[in-house]
C-alpha cells in the first residue's frame, strides 16, 4: 500500500489560504442565527391554531428550509462532487417512494371494498 504510505507523509496544502477560509466562517454564524429564528417562527406559527392542512404545510415548508440550510452550508452540499449528488438523487427517489406508500395503501383499500 505504497499509495497510502505516501499519503500519510504528505500533507496537501488546503485549496484556500487560512485568511480566505476564515471569510467563509461568517456564513456558518448567519445560518446558525437563521436556524434559531426559523425555529422560533415554527413554534410561533403553531400558536396561531391554523387549520391542520395549512399548519402541516407551513411547518413542513419551514422545516425544509432549515434542512436545506443545514445540508447546503453545514454539510457543504452547495459545493460537492457529482458522485454525492448522484447518491442523494437515488436516495431522494426511494425516500419519495416511501412517503407515497401510505397513499398507495389507501388506494389499495379502495380497490378491495
Amino acid at each position: 500500500m505504497t499509495e497510502t504510505a505516501q499519503e500519510s507523509s504528505h500533507h496537501e496544502s488546503p485549496h484556500e489560504s487560512p485568511a480566505e477560509f476564515k471569510k467563509h466562517l461568517s456564513r456558518y454564524y448567519v445560518v446558525f442565527v437563521a436556524l434559531l429564528c426559523l425555529t422560533g417562527i415554527t413554534v410561533g406559527v403553531s400558536y396561531l391554531k391554523l387549520n391542520r392542512p395549512l399548519a402541516i404545510t407551513v411547518a413542513l415548508i419551514i422545516a425544509s428550509i432549515k434542512a436545506g440550510l443545514v445540508a447546503g452550508v453545514f454539510m457543504h452540499l452547495l459545493d460537492e462532487k457529482k458522485v454525492i449528488y448522484a447518491v442523494l438523487l437515488l436516495t431522494a427517489l426511494f425516500f419519495l417512494l416511501l412517503m407515497l406508500l401510505p397513499s398507495l395503501t389507501i388506494l389499495e383499500v379502495f380497490k378491495s371494498t
Binding site: 500500500m1 499509495e3 497510502t4 504510505a5 499519503e7 500519510s8 504528505h10 500533507h11 496537501e12 488546503p14 487560512p18 477560509f21 476564515k22 466562517l25 456558518y28 454564524y29 445560518v31 446558525f32 436556524l35 434559531l36 425555529t39 415554527t42 413554534v43 403553531s46 391542520r52 399548519a55 402541516i56 411547518a59 413542513l60 419551514i62 422545516a63 432549515k66 434542512a67 443545514v70 445540508a71 453545514f74 454539510m75 462532487k81 457529482k82 458522485v83 454525492i84 447518491v87 442523494l88 437515488l90 436516495t91 426511494f94 425516500f95 416511501l98 412517503m99 406508500l101 401510505p102 395503501t105 389507501i106
Partner: protein
C-alpha cells in the same frame, strides 16, 4: 498490527473524486434516510388511519412538552455550529480550538439527552409507555431511535476528542477528514430532529 490499510483516506479516489471515508459516510447517511423514512412513512400511515390524533383526544402540543422540545432544538442547532467550527479549526491548523469546539459539541449532546430524560421521566410517571397507544408508540420509537443516534455521535466525537486526536501529530489531513465525516453524521442527526420536532410536537 495489520499491514492492510484502507487506500484513499486522504487523497481523493480517482473514480469518485472524494476520499473513501467521505464516500462511505454519505452511503451510510443514504441508508439512514431509508431507516428514518420508513418510520416516517409508517407514522403517516398510522396517523391518517386514526379517527383522531392523538387517539386520546386533545392536541400533540398539549400532550408533549413543547418548551422542552424547543430548548432541545436550540441545543442541537448550537451543537451543529460548534461541530462545524471544530472542523474549521482543524482546517486552520488550530488543535486547541478544535478541542474547545468539539468539547462544547459533546457537552451540548449530553444536554440534549438530559432534557430528553426529563421528558421521558414525566411520561413514565403518568404511566404513558410506548404500549399506551399509537401516539406514544410513534413518539417513543422515533425519539428513541434519534436518541440512540445522539449517543452514537457522542461516542465518535469523544473518540476524536480523546485518543483519536493522536492522529493529528502524524497526519493532520487524515484527522481533519475524520472530523468532517463525524460532522456530516452529526448534522444529519440535527436534520432528522428538524423534521421530528414539528411533526411530533406541534402538528
Amino acid at each position: 498490527m495489520s499491514d492492510t490499510v484502507i487506500p484513499y483516506m486522504v487523497k481523493p479516489h480517482p473514480v469518485t473524486g472524494i476520499p473513501n471515508g467521505k464516500f462511505g459516510i454519505w452511503l451510510f447517511l443514504a441508508s439512514e434516510v431509508m431507516l428514518f423514512g420508513a418510520l416516517f412513512s409508517s407514522y403517516v400511515l398510522i396517523r391518517t388511519g386514526a379517527p383522531h390524533w392523538p387517539p386520546e383526544g386533545g392536541l400533540s402540543s398539549e400532550i408533549l412538552n413543547v418548551p422542552l422540545a424547543t430548548l432541545n432544538t436550540g441545543i442541537l442547532i448550537t451543537s451543529s455550529i460548534t461541530m462545524v467550527l471544530a472542523w474549521a479549526s482543524c482546517k486552520l491548523g488550530e488543535l486547541p480550538k478544535f478541542k474547545l469546539w468539539m468539547g462544547a459539541t459533546i457537552l451540548l449532546s449530553f444536554g440534549f439527552l438530559i432534557v430528553k430524560y426529563f421528558e421521558y421521566s414525566h411520561k413514565f410517571e403518568l404511566g404513558h409507555y410506548p404500549s399506551h397507544d399509537n401516539f406514544y408508540a410513534v413518539y417513543f420509537t422515533l425519539t428513541g431511535l434519534h436518541g440512540v443516534h445522539i449517543l452514537g455521535g457522542i461516542v465518535v466525537n469523544s473518540y476524536l476528542l480523546g485518543p483519536g486526536s493522536k492522529l493529528w501529530a502524524t497526519d493532520r489531513e487524515h484527522f481533519t477528514n475524520r472530523v468532517e465525516n463525524a460532522g456530516l453524521y452529526w448534522h444529519f442527526v440535527d436534520l432528522v430532529w428538524i423534521f421530528l420536532f414539528p411533526c411530533l410536537y406541534l402538528l
